[in-house]
Amino acid sequence: MTELNDFLTPTAFNPLIYWVLALFALPLLSFFTSGLFKGKAPVWSGFLLAVNTCLSVYLALQHWGLEPGVVIKGTWFETGSTAFTYSFLLDNPALIMLVIVNFISLLVHIFSAEYMRHDKAKPRYYAYLGLFTFSMLGIVLFHNLLFIFIFWELVGLSSYLLIGFWFEKKSASLAANKAFIMNRIGDLGFLTGLMILYTQFETLDLGALKLLMGDSRIEDGNWVINYLKNGEEVIHSLDGRWLSAAGIALFCGAVGKSAQFPLQVWLPDAMEGPTPVSALIHAATMVAAGVFMLSRVFVLLDAQALEVVAIVGAITALMAAVAALSQFDIKKVLAYSTVSQLGYMVLAMGVGAYDAGLFHLFTHAFFKAGLFLSAGVIIHQLHKLETDEVKFNTQDMRVMGGLRTYMPVTFFCFLFCSLSLAGLPAFSGFLSKEAILINTHAWSVEKGGGYYLIELMAFATVILTAFYIMRAVMLVFTGKFRLPELKGTPEIVGKLKEGNMTLLIPVVILAVLSFSFVFGASISAEDSWLYQSVRTPRDTWVPKEYIAMSQAEMLAKAGTHHTWLEVLSVGLALAGIVIAILIYKPGAKLAEGFDGKREPVSPIVQVSFYHWYQDVLYTKVILKFILTQSKMLAWFDEKILDGCVNLLARTQVVVAHLTGMFDRYIIDGFVHLTAFTSGKVGQLTRSIQTGNVQTYILSAIAMLIMLLLWFAF
């Protein structure tokens, strides 16, 4: 039996902790101090980040491939007999993420130096970037669910701050709110997951959870675990359904952060933030944190939970891909594309392809950041054309067109990244997407029946992806520059220039990194060094009874390599590209029809354009419902509940009046009655009506008699 305390005792001192602390300290330092540097903030923060990147590369090289990774554990605080511990785990996924986060963050720092050059609030911007990097590293390095949750929320905070960076724009601050709240909704699930796991295992240390999960079992529909705590045996038992619930609850966290259906609506809005931020947070790292977290808790998910994960991933991938088809805002296209790709990663996790999901995460991080930064270059350069007279939406693809001639470097970078996204061979996207598709296929085969639908959705997304990204390329870079015509200012054309080196270097680096040779010379994901590095022998951890079949078994059954699958996926991608080129080729009718204003009219296109009306549903129905509800409650609180209290007070007053009037009216009335009955005896009526003392006496006597009668009977 497992002794719980073995997991919770701090590890012996390891000098590595200094390195880890330094990794945290530098971005945090940037957060606190960039304000002091005013205009030099980019240099200072960039310097800190560069150091951090070097550190992480060094660490990654040092600890590469160690199984099962280096663990550093300590106690945060204790309450009662329970210790809340923290632990760091440096294993391959963590190290890769470490490098990616720091590296892309560094590139974004560099890129932003130019992009934000004229913004007065630059120090604040760099401070937020520092905070973000710090929080993100927390998710990556900590190996305790509680700490992952903590940094999870902090990442949410920095995302909120960065989306709302231009807080004068109402849309920006609203988008920030939306992002934070949507994430919070997901986090409720995460928190519930923590509650369930804590109740069952009394710890949230992932290392411990993995082993304890393996020790647990289902008995008579109950989820039972025995372990030793301080040498005493403890048996915990919960209803078996809580096992699946825990997995689904944790997944809810990922749904929020990685923008999965039904919480994905915040991500397109988050494009209100500066474009480099979108590249860093809303494409490469933060949104991928959900997937990374799923990989961390992968072993805690049972078959039901995984199924939910797979279905949600597939739905998200398809829905977002459809939505991306008709967007005019270049960042929106990329945003939906991100959602869609995240759907792929989640799908991969759901079908048990932990490695494929992570691999796609890594490749996607580069090419999507590349796409965003390229878009950033375009936006930045177009922004320079804006004058007080000429105002236009710098992100609207309808004003662009033909930019290839003005910005060739950007064009090629964008194109390569796009091809990677579309999943053409020789690009990194191909490798990872192929891995996902193979695993999905194996899973569908294993499950059979309606589950083929999931595979179908995955393949449908391939063609859609190729189409919308090629559409963007065509609209932006081919044909002729539409802005001068639209605004009637032909002289603008000459001013449009390629971005400077500060902008281009990061873009070029990212574009290079979206070629497949970086990750492996072969055409197959199997041979990629990166893919192999994350293939941990996790099968031994997962309790057999919780999942019907392990990934290895599924793959063995369905076959690991299917040429027809690759052919099909490449074919679909090519088909998508060709269709896009045909439709949006220069001079094509559709391309000419834009006047920069019109919204799509066709109802089918509208469904895509308005992203399945999900947002409408949320704001017009759910949010309105909650607000009405809260207004009603406030009314209830003020009028009814408080009213009751006031009513009570008022009743008291009334009672006071009543008792006061008792003499005057009730007794008088009584007197009236007596007077009426004895009216004929004498001229009493008048005298009794107003007789005061006598009324007093009568009331006293009457009460005495009443008392007597009541007492007697």
Binding site: G682, S687, G691, I701
Partner: protein
């Protein structure tokens, strides 16, 4: 005469006194009603004193009551006079400034 008759007389007298107290509008008349009530008690006391031949406490009590009633009447009349000065009436209906 059986004692019951006396007690009945006392009860009737008490009720009449109370009735007078409650119905007459003149203060003096009300006072007379009170006297009737007191005398009802006196009749009771004397009647019961009949069974207390050794000490005759009832009779003695009655004597005290008569004395006290006289004193009370004296005070009462003085007050009525005073009230009359202010209100120019002894009608109890009209003497009702204090209320509530």
């Amino acid at each position: 005469m059986p004692v019951e008759h006396l007690l009945f007389l006392g009860a009737v007298l008490f009720c009449i006194g109370l009735f007078v107290v409650l119905t007459r509008k003149n203060a003096i008349a009300v006072l007379i009603g009170v006297e009737l009530m007191l005398n009802a008690s006196n009749i009771n006391l004397v009647a019961f004193g009949h069974f207390d031949p050794d000490f005759l406490q009832g009779q003695i009590f009655a004597l005290f009551v008569i004395t006290v009633a006289a004193a009370e009447a004296a005070v009462a009349l003085a007050i009525v006079v005073k009230v009359y000065q202010y209100f120019q009436t002894a009608d109890l209906d009209k003497i009702s400034e204090l209320k509530g």
